[in-house]
Symmetry: C2
Subunit: 253 residues, 2 copies
DNA sequence: TTACAATTGTGTACCAATTACACCTTTAGG
DNA sequence: CCTAAAGGTGTAATTGGTACACAATTGTAA
């Protein structure tokens, strides 16, 4: 039987072990018409870019915190948002400390502590987003994947891990529901996949595969007005889409 | 430019947001000769079983903390240990609170706070392990997968998630290096996979698949002494094994 | 010493999924 | 009304996975 004294001793010792802060870093991938960008903020005292992030509040589930942080920076709610890794190397704090050494008092303070960071990634349509800077930033904006600035801290690793995870999960999870308009064409959806994967896919094989997932409804109408042959419109079958989200798809690209 | 005052204001506000504790929970899967068990501890003041766990210390990378916790409970070091999920539902604390309500003072204290838990799973040979209880437990022992006790807190969810993740990752990651003797036979390795997956596999297809990964060396000798035809011995090609760990294998079971 | 049971070694045929590839249709614009 | 550009669709070849059978080895029991 555990005594009250044992508990108190443990509590006293454990008090020395507290991890200082838990933050959430959120890699927000923005898509629109074949483009793919990532949301970044620029530090207001130097040329350093970082990912949207924030703290988890007491009594707030981390999932809720991630949504809150995303909503604050983008204005969006209820989008695809997925936890993918925890980053907890204490070296993070050192860099952070040096970064603010001009303004911070010496010794221990909030920013010299270590931040353990839970990585989430989100998929959004960047035309729906109003990028909003935080208190440390003067700029919050979309950056092109092939024109990325220098990252602060370990945010490059976080970004890279998010992208790898996303590409991997593309084989197991349906995506696109909140990235495409209600009705869209097959070439448009294919462009989304090609953008994420960073490579071209075969038109015919893509279509067979995607249709094989059984999450699309083919509509009667075609997209008129454009040049060339009018493509058919499709919409997501929300019920089947969500079932696939839960149970996963088969096989890979 | 960020002013010192802004920083101080932020720090004061952020102080209200600290997450209380980060813990690590470790699902230790033990294997030996076709058996699979999981390491559990029994609370010393009631019939409640839980998974090995502990806190992350200041300036300790979480990866190191996970290894330390595992080493403390098992005596093992440098085994397969993988982060798989973060559990952060604030309800965890409520249950915890009720659990210790007899010994704890009312109001806020260490144990009434929320614990965010980073889930790791480990794969070990349970014949190499000396299960060691912690201060809250009277028993630390291996439990059979098909004879599991009632779990404390959300440890059932953590266990379940670990098992699902392990089974999934079996398709992408080579395993077995620290679970098999230096030299082993194909049927022995197959038994390991069958144990993890909880189902029988075809002998011939298993062999073709495993050999196709290119991480095994077939040795000249056979395992003599047993009844029946002597099987060939194999060993892991450590270099290729580690490369496969990094780059992953293809396809699934 | 021999027959048997248990286990291992190995190869092949079938099916499903993936990849590679070609021809026809539609539409706008000159 | 001809052409260029894009979309619709089908088929053959390859690869990977599953199912399955027979021969060889070894200890044990007759």
């Amino acid at each position: 039987m555990l005594t009250k004294q044992q508990l108190e001793e443990f509590e006293a010792e454990a008090g020395m072990m507290y991890l200082d802060h838990i933050s959430i870093d959120c890699v927000v991938f923005g898509f629109h018409e074949g483009q793919m960008k990532v949301l970044m903020l620029k530090s207001n005292n130097e040329e350093a870019w970082y990912l949207p992030g924030g703290f988890v509040m007491k009594q707030e589930p981390i999932e809720v915190a991630a949504n809150r942080i995303l909503a604050t920076r983008t204005g969006l709610d209820k989008v695809f948002l997925k936890q993918f890794h925890v980053f907890g190397d204490p070296d993070r704090s050192k860099i952070h400390n040096e970064m603010y050494s001009e303004v911070l008092p010496a010794g221990n303070n909030f920013f010299t502590q270590r931040f353990i960071s839970i990585g989430y990634y989100a998929l959004v349509d960047f035309f729906n987003v109003i990028p909003t800077p935080d208190v440390f930033s003067e700029i919050c904006t979309w950056r092109d994947l092939d024109d990325l600035p220098k990252f602060q801290l370990d945010h490059e690793l976080i970004f890279r891990t998010a992208l790898d995870t996303l590409r991997l999960q593309l084989s197991y999870q349906p995506i696109g529901y909140n990235l495409m308009p209600k009705e869209f064409t097959m070439p448009e959806l294919q462009k989304l996949y090609e953008t994420i994967l960073g490579k071209k896919l075969d038109r015919r094989n893509f279509q067979r595969r995607i249709l094989g997932f059984g999450i699309l409804n083919k509509l009667e109408q075609t997209r008129k007005g454009g040049a060339h042959k009018a493509p058919y419109l499709y919409s997501f079958d929300l019920k089947k889409y969500q079932a696939a989200l839960k149970e996963g798809l088969k096989s890979g690209w």
